[in-house]
Symmetry: C2
Subunit: 376 residues, 2 copies
């Protein structure tokens, strides 16, 4: 994997760059649609390419490990071959799901024992095991196995957890560096900064992670319930320490405003379930603001959902028709809303990139945050 910086904003820390992987290049800043179980919910693969113009999607190690399972994925020749998405894929480490979905889990030095949310069966994830699983999935970008602490989190727990996350990282790197991709192409491994909402821990973690000198770095444990201002404070703190010549990935973020603000602080990559999950509840993000499509206001609005962002779903269907589908509980309602919201997210980061290159990112960002976050 390589990363090239294309442009840096003068008035903020925003950067435009290009990541090159075995499955193609990614122009940053970028948003990665979440494809939990090998599918971005309600979205066809060609819609990802043609309408949404996604450049990389995310897969969840926890979900893929349970279903379809490693045997099927390996026989298919990896996730790209299995789901037909031949552009870059990033997989998380499964840690986050193990902590949040699994009712009973036990974290020890060796790893995490947990129960499947599907059938209650017992499983064990270790740093080494999770590397092996991600080798089998075949993601272009693999993530280290860490502990993502909740918010708020006691200082002592956060410190103990962070030290273990750093020891786990060493084990991840040892396993990663002593193995090879299974399908004839290179993969890379991103470590993750943790440290909850404690400055000294975040600084210590960012310095430790930077010292591993991997090809890219991630920031985890934010956007877990803390105020947005606090998130921005820690993003900036950490970005300033992480090397400038490597991509920075802020995990699980966020709203359109969160994304634009964090880009200004030096973040290059984002992922979040928000655009797809909220789509399924009838909440649309558009270039003009936020729409609750269930509202009476849209009943007779026969204008397209959002002509500005382009793509079939956003320009072909009207608000009134989509409102009808959502009210009627029709699957097509979720399909249109999901494709639209992702189209908007990808449009937004593309716009951001252009304004970074044009040199007016900060002014555009301040205007845009207000515009896209207003309720219509």
């Amino acid at each position: 994997m390589t990363f090239e910086l294309t442009a840096k904003d003068i008035h903020s820390k925003a950067r435009a760059g290009e990541i090159t992987t075995a499955h193609g290049t990614i122009q940053t800043p970028i948003f990665m649609p979440v494809g939990t179980a090998g599918t971005v919910k309600a979205v066809h693969q060609r819609e990802l390419t043609n309408d949404i113009q996604a450049q990389i999607i995310l897969g969840n190690t926890y979900h893929l490990y349970l279903r379809p399972g490693l045997e099927v994925l390996e026989q298919a020749g990896g996730l790209h071959k299995f789901n037909g998405w031949d552009q870059p894929i990033l997989t998380d480490s499964g840690g986050y799901q193990v902590y949040s979905l699994s009712g009973t889990r036990k974290i020890v030095e060796e790893g995490v024992k947990f129960k499947s949310h599907i059938d209650g069966s017992t499983h064990f994830f270790s740093p080494e095991g999770v590397m092996d699983i991600q080798r089998t999935i075949g993601a272009d970008i693999m993530m280290a196995f860490d502990e993502c602490t909740p918010y708020p989190c006691e200082y002592n727990y956060a410190k103990k957890s962070l030290d273990m996350t750093h020891r786990w990282l060493q084990r991840c790197c040892d396993r990663f560096d002593s193995t090879e991709g299974k399908y004839g192409y290179d993969q890379t491994l991103f470590p993750i900064v943790q440290g909850s909402t404690y400055k000294d821990l975040r600084i210590q973690s960012a310095e430790t992670i930077a010292s591993f000198n991997r090809e890219g770095n991630a920031i985890g444990g934010l956007s877990v319930g803390e105020p947005a201002e606090m998130m921005y404070e820690f993003t900036e703190l950490v970005c300033d320490i992480l090397p400038a010549d490597k991509p920075r990935y802020l995990m699980g973020v966020g709203t359109p405003a969160n994304i634009l603000e964090n880009i200004a602080l030096g973040v290059d990559m984002f992922d979040c379930v928000l655009p797809t999950r909220n789509a399924r509840n009838g909440m649309l993000f558009t270039s003009q603001g936020i729409i609750n499509i269930r509202n009476e206001r849209w009943k007779n609005d026969f204008s397209p959902i959002d002509e500005t962002v382009g793509g079939y779903a956003s320009t072909f269907y009207s608000k009134a028709y989509l409102r009808h589908l959502v009210h009627s509980g029709e699957m097509l309602g979720s399909q249109i809303s999901s494709v639209h919201n992702l189209t908007f997210y990808l449009w937004l980061v593309k716009q951001a990139r252009e304004h970074i290159i044009a040199g007016d990112y900060l002014a555009w960002k301040d205007k845009m945050v207000k515009q896209v976050m207003q309720r219509l």
Copy 2:
């Protein structure tokens, strides 16, 4: 509306023809995907056109009347404008849903009083009212308001009901002929043969319906639980009476075998929820036979769903991937299955048409019925 016969099979009563409506032509025999509430469930409009190659879709008067309602449909300029489907649309009369969905309904000479399955509110459908509703929906082909009797049905009830259906038909025609389309294009009205499973009633009804001399005729009240052989017997009986120079529409039919057999008896048009409803349960109709995609057998089958029938969903995705999606309860599983099953149905009637024109329909049909109905 016009109908031209293109070819007639020598060895059976199968015909190939062409129906021309204000929204384009339809090559018969044809299958019409069911778009209940203005959406073919889980299918995008461009998938209907490009992948499935649908030529006409069905809308349900009952559902559209309740949601989005007539005010929205009229403001939109009719259903075509509302959902963006600019090819032909046929609407049923709402009768079938009123009888089957509505818990409490009362049928009197004037019409039917029923309760909405959504909110329990009381409504009244009369032959005249249903004509007005279908004028507002703007379907190219409207259906008469009839009573569809259940199976089995007492002779006396069937006879009484049939007489009323014929009186209602006169009222439908009177209203239809004294009104005009609301959106500047012509609509047409098909009457419906009823008579349950009684030969004398079916003959009487077919003769009555034929005497109305409308532009096309429908056969209702079959495929409601009676044995397939009985359905074929009555289809043939009725088709022989209905005029040969008008299209014949067999309502609510059926399996691939049902369709091929009824084509051989002189039917030109079909609709059924089977391909989409069964798709959502993981049952696939393919050119090679019937697949329960949940079965272990498909777990590692990375071949396309059905390359023979063409279209994106059927050729891009593998059986193993689709099985995974269905097992995981992913919406994309229903989407792929629905598009595939409809692609197969449209492929099947297109093949039927070609074999009618080529003159070898009967032999092809006998082979094909066995092939597509076998369980793989």
